[in-house]
Amino acid sequence: MAPIMKVAVIQFPGSNCDTDCEAALKSFSGVEASIVWHKETSLAGYDAIVLPGGFSYGDYLRCGSIARFSPIMGAVRDAANAGILVLGICNGFQILCEAGLLPGTLQRNTGLLFRCEHLHLRVDNTATPFTSVLHKGQVLDIPIAHGEGNYFADQETLRQIEENGQVLLRYCDASGNVTPEANPNGSLGNIAGICSHGRNVFGLMPHPERVCDSLLGGTDGRGIFQSMIEAIQKTKAK
C-alpha cells in the first residue's frame, strides 16, 4: 500500500532532533519519513515538511539566521506557498521566523537560562491542520529545551495573529490557566506556537516528537502529527 503521507525531515548542520522526528513520524501507520539534507533543492512528492530542533550552524549570528539561507529553503518556501504543511519545532520554528514564513521572532529567554523541562500547553485553536484532533482548552504535557524561545512581535503583528486565531499553543499551568508563572521564557502572551495566516505553516518551541511514546514519558505530542495525517488524508480524498 502506498504511504498516506510522505514527510521530509530537513537536516541542517547542527540539527539534533532530526532522527527523533523521523522515528516519531514512522510510529504512525501509513507515514513514510525521510531525512533530507539541507543542500538538496527539491521537495517534490512530499506531503509535509518538518524542520527539526537543534542548533543549526551552531546558532551563530542568531538562531536560524544562517539556516534560512540553506539551499533547501527555496523549496520549503515554495511548498509553504503552495499550501503544503510545514512544521517547525524549536530551532525549526526559529528558522521559519527568520525566513519570514512565520511572523515575529524568538529572542533570548528573559531569565537567561536554557530551560529543559516538561511543562503544560493550552490548545487555543483547533481549526488548523496541526490541531484538529485536539480540543480547545486541552492541556498538553510536552517538554521544552531552549535558550531562545521568547516569542516577540511588534504590537500590530501581535494583534493580527491574535485576531486571526494564529496562536495555537500557550504556556499554562496544569489546570490550563495562562499565567506569568507558567511562562518559561518571557514570550508575549505566553505564546508557545503560532501558525501562518494560511494555517499551513506551524512553528512551536516545545518538542512534540519527544512525547510520542509512553516508554519515553508521554504521548501528548501525537495529536499534532495525527492532525497532520488526517488533514493530508482529507486533501487526498478530494
Binding site: 527568520e98 515575529g104 529567554n109
Partner: protein
C-alpha cells in the same frame, strides 16, 4: 573595502543579557548603572562590493529587523 556593521537591539526591546551584565557591573562596585545594551560588531573585508550590497547583507542576514537595528560604516 573594509566595513563594520554594528547590530543593536532596538530601544524598545528588552535585552536580558544586557540587564544581567549591568547587575554584574553593580556587583563589582560600579554605581549608577542606568542601562547596558549588548549588540554585535561585525568587521568585513570584501573585494568589489557596493555599499548597497553591504546594506542588503546587513539588513537580510546580519540583523533581524524585527528586533534589531544596524549601522554600516565604510572604513576604507
Amino acid at each position: 573595502m573594509k566595513a563594520v556593521v554594528t547590530v543593536m537591539p532596538k530601544p524598545a526591546i528588552l535585552d536580558p543579557a544586557g540587564v544581567a551584565t549591568g547587575r554584574a557591573m553593580e556587583h563589582l562596585g560600579l554605581k549608577g548603572v542606568r542601562s547596558v545594551r549588548i549588540g554585535k560588531s561585525i568587521e568585513i573585508e570584501v573585494d568589489g562590493a557596493t555599499e548597497q550590497q553591504l546594506h542588503e547583507i546587513a539588513h537580510d542576514l546580519l540583523s533581524n529587523p524585527v528586533v534589531e537595528d544596524y549601522k554600516l560604516q565604510i572604513l576604507s
